[in-house]
């Protein structure tokens, strides 16, 4: 059985993606505070939801990546 090697480059890309999704989720939190006129302290108190949303977006991106790879595989 072969070892799976994840390159430094790949890790950097994934970390960048997670950072981007975190920023997107953070902005969504700010947007929802404004839209629903709730308290600004939710920027901090709802960070757990921001984390969850980050995770959901990342998983979603992996699914899309998986589908893309599958399509490429069958086109060959």
């Amino acid at each position: 059985m072969h070892d799976i090697v994840i390159s430094k480059e790949r890790i950097k890309i994934e970390l960048k993606k997670i950072m981007i999704f975190f920023v997107v989720a953070f902005i969504l939190n700010i947007y929802s505070i404004i839209k629903y006129n709730t308290k600004w302290i939710e920027i901090f108190t709802q960070l757990h939801w921001v984390m969850i949303l980050t995770g959901v977006l990342y998983v979603f991106s992996l699914i899309i990546l998986g589908i893309k790879l599958l399509v490429q595989f069958f086109r060959k």
């Binding site: 947007y31 505070i33 404004i34 006129n37 939710e42 709802q46 939801w49």
Partner: protein, 423 residues
Amino acid sequence: MLKDKSKREFLKISSLAAVASLFPWISILAQNNKTKSPSDKVKLAIIGVGSRGYGLMANIKYMIENDSANVEIAAVCDNYQPHYERAIKDCGNPKVKAFYDYRNLLEMQEIDGVIIATPLYEHAHIAINSMKAGKQVFCEKSMARTLDDVKAMYDTHIDTGKILQIGHQRLFDPKYLEAIQRIKKGEIGIIGQIRAYWHRNSDWRRKLPNGRPDLEKKINWRLYRDFSAGLLTELGSHQIQVANWVMGKTPKSVMGTGSIRYWKDGREIYDNVSTIFSYNDGTQFIWDSMTSNRKYGLQEQIMGDLGTMELETNKVFMESPPAAPGIRELINDIEHFVFDNIPIGGATWVPETAIKYKGEFISEKWEMDETKLQLEAFVEYIREGKAPEILTREGYNASIWTLLAEQAIDIGKKLELPEKYQI
């Protein structure tokens, strides 16, 4: 040093200024001007050691074992042999004196206070004779079987100056204390209606000893009119007390109806009762009880224009629930947008069914045994030599209005309290 942590916490709360004005019977527990030194043992007697009396005895034993009160069960009394023997065996005091006749017990000079947990119809003469014999009295609710007996008990309490504490343990329940505090502050707004119910699905019978059908009325006294008003006195009096406490006054009138709908087994008391008590400000207290369905169990619902409190389950439901965090609302909206169906046809109005909102807890402090707390309070009051008058009045008003409700049901009329029973 008290070993009982909950008692120490309770005393801490009882010393707060806000509690002093609203609940003098609680704040007095934190004061320290007792006529009897805490090192002197308070000697108690229990008259009636059936199911309830035995339970109270167990609470006192717990107090002794946990040093939460310097107290001793010095005497027990019951005229039913099995209860008499069980009490001697289980009271925790090998030197306990036991009696079949409470009058002999009252001759014991060293007894400071008596706890009366006999069947309802025996409360009045035992309590009156006890107070006249110089004993402080804790009597289980309801006070007595008739309006005149309730008044006679109250009058003896006034004449002798002896304590007459009635067993309405919710007056010592921390969640009720907090709820009442918040209601008085106006948190749930103007109260329009109080609803309370106590539903069970059982025949309420105790098993008779083999071959002793003659003991039916002695054992199952709750089911017979000479001895009890049934659901009203045994269950309803607690909830009528809570309604009066919330309102800070007594009702103006009562009407009701009752029937023997399900348990047609020779009982004389209703197994299905509904009553409405009206207060002079227009508030209605609706109380019902039945013994053939237990889905809704036991509850007191205090309904104001700003919110509802459900006291038994320690919940408050505001009419405008606090908004969810913005991000949760955004996620909900996205979910609805993606998954909701588009209705085609259907009802043109939204039915006013109950609001699906789980509410908040009224009190998150602790779970305490309010029965034990009220007995600890009784011991403290004995040391003090007196108890706050409001405690007796709460018991009096609950008992009087319970019995008046029974009369209203029996004659099918709306009744007001006759002047001679007003205190």
